[in-house]
Amino acid sequence: MRYSIRKALTHFRYYFFTYLSVILEYAVGVAIAAVCFNLLLSCNDKLKEVEKALSEDVLQVTYWGQTDEWAISPDLMVEVRRDADIGAKQEMIYVPYVSWGFSIPDEEWRNVYVMFPTKEDYEKLVGESREEKIYVGSIVEEYLVELEKISKDSKKIGFFYSNLLEWNEGTLWLGQQTIAGKDTAEMEIEEVEVVLNKPFKLVSQAEQFSLQECIILPPEYMSLLENGRNVGKDAIVLLPTNSERSDMQAVGKLLQRLAEGNEELHFEVTSQLVALRKSASDLTAEYQDLVYVSVSILAIVMLGMTGVFIILLQKRRNGVAISLAYGATKLQVFGELFLEVFFVFGIGGFIGMFVATKVSPKVVIEALEVVASVRFEVVVAVLLCTFFETLVVCLFSVQAVKSRTLVETLRQTHR
């Protein structure tokens, strides 16, 4: 085997300049095909993701929040308010620092994590507040204390309770609302230092905020905070509620879903999802055409290489015959030819993949937020393609050049 590799390498070196054009052609073919496939797969993934989100009836949010407006889903209600009066609106979903109307510029989308409290806490908050008419504020205050106990590192994780008055790098000033009496509330300003893993640098006050790409984590996650499974200290705590504009059935569905063990449930803005689905499927079709083109290029390169190799083999007939005369088996000779062609396609494929890895990340479809990142499947496909092309070229070339017997070959060469 070693000798065959060495022999194939010697031949490859000797005919390198003959092979050079094929190497470059194959490199170009592979590069184009790989980038197209990367894009196609990314689009396809996006499409699947969108399809999945669309099928998640519970978690579709049909509206994206804006200050003083409601984000309403057929199933899940989210209130986004500027000044949340916890005492008065005790039964609504409350997203405090969204209430300031954070917005993320289009080019700087980021994930927002939405966390539920433990099931127990949730029931305590929602259930008791509804049935016993206890002001949510006071319950929340207790809950905050609990939360602080749970997550020492996460500082003020429960700022769902407090209004965010202002933010600056690393520091949040939270307006803590306390309940003094049945219908009255006093405002106390408290400065709380919050260390954020992902500071709110990307957002600015009084702009719009999108719930796109939110992740809802099951309540159980809250109990795992200590184990480092907190999704981030800048989490929003979102509570489903039973207000006049919400649907308790949906909350039940949601909880059931969470109980089924979904670790992460994505929800996106429905209208955008539909648009995304269309764009993704359009682009998938477009890139499918490009893939056909690049596959055709690879097929043409294979034909070209077959032609080159047939000519070379005709020239090297006596070499093959001499190898056989000196004890090589037909399989060994075929193996040597295979390796030689494999070097050609292998180097071409490597160059092509290298170019593709450099080019792919630069190919971005902004509308879909899709980047043609290098995919493992594509690398495997290129390897298989290289192997296949090598095999086909060898089989065709050997078939085209082969003689009946060794002596016949030597005689033909001698003539």
């Binding site: 010697t10 005919y15 001499i322 190898s323 004890g327 090589a328 060994q332 017997t405 002596v407």
Partner: protein, 219 residues
């Protein structure tokens, strides 16, 4: 060492058949230097190719050290050519892509010799044929005589039992031809069995025995 019984070789299809060998029988003992002579097209090269396992007889038997060669499988046949036989061709058939040393190493490579041992043996053989300074040259950089000497070195690299030479001096001038014959005689003296095909009776006289073939028969 070699026993050939009633061997025939027919080329061509049913309608146009050419009988290259017609019931040939003979024996060759170990250490002999046999010359096979005859006119062009009489079947001497066909016989040599069959003896070397490069071609098959149409009928008859060929025994090499009591093994019937035409019953060997493809793999065994390759091994037979590799370990038992050395070929020297009229046209040298050195591989241009390889250096002289690499050409000599060819049968050793297929025999599974390790690279260092292979190189050492090739150097020895280069010395034997008086071309130790040409190891890095490619065949086209050598004269005809030098190329044939390299071809002989390649043929004997794997210590074959039998050296088959097909018109080894056919493409050489007289001086180089003589040098090749000297080399072959020297190898024979060292114990190597040689079967040489030639149409030159003068050269044939250098051998210890002559088998003359005419129209596919030994005469």
């Amino acid at each position: 060492m070699i026993r050939v019984e009633n061997m025939t070789k027919i080329y061509g299809a049913e309608q146009v058949q050419t009988k290259a060998l017609d019931g040939v029988s003979f024996q060759i003992e170990e250490g002999e230097f046999v010359a096979i002579t005859g006119k062009s097209g009489c079947g001497k090269s066909s016989l040599l190719h069959i003896l070397g396992g490069m071609d098959m007889q149409t009928s008859g038997h060929y025994f090499f050290e009591e093994t019937e060669v035409n019953k060997l499988s493809d793999k065994e046949m390759a091994e037979f050519r590799n370990r038992k036989i050395g070929f020297v061709f009229q046209a040298f058939y050195l591989l241009e892509e390889f250096q002289t040393l690499q050409n000599i190493e060819l049968p050793l490579g297929y025999s599974g010799w390790k690279s260092g041992k292979r190189r050492k043996r090739a150097m020895e053989l280069l010395q034997l044929v008086g071309l130790s300074h040409k190891g890095r040259n490619h065949p086209s950089q050598l004269s005809g005589g030098e190329q044939q000497r390299i071809a002989i070195a390649r043929a004997i690299a794997n210590y074959p039992k039998l050296l088959l030479a097909d018109e080894p001096t056919g493409n050489l001038d007289k001086e180089n031809g003589e040098r090749i014959m000297e080399l072959l005689k020297r190898l024979n003296k060292e114990g190597l069995t040689i079967v040489m095909v030639t149409h030159d009776l003068e050269l044939a006289k250098e051998a210890s025995r002559i088998i003359h073939i005419s129209d596919g028969k030994i005469v």
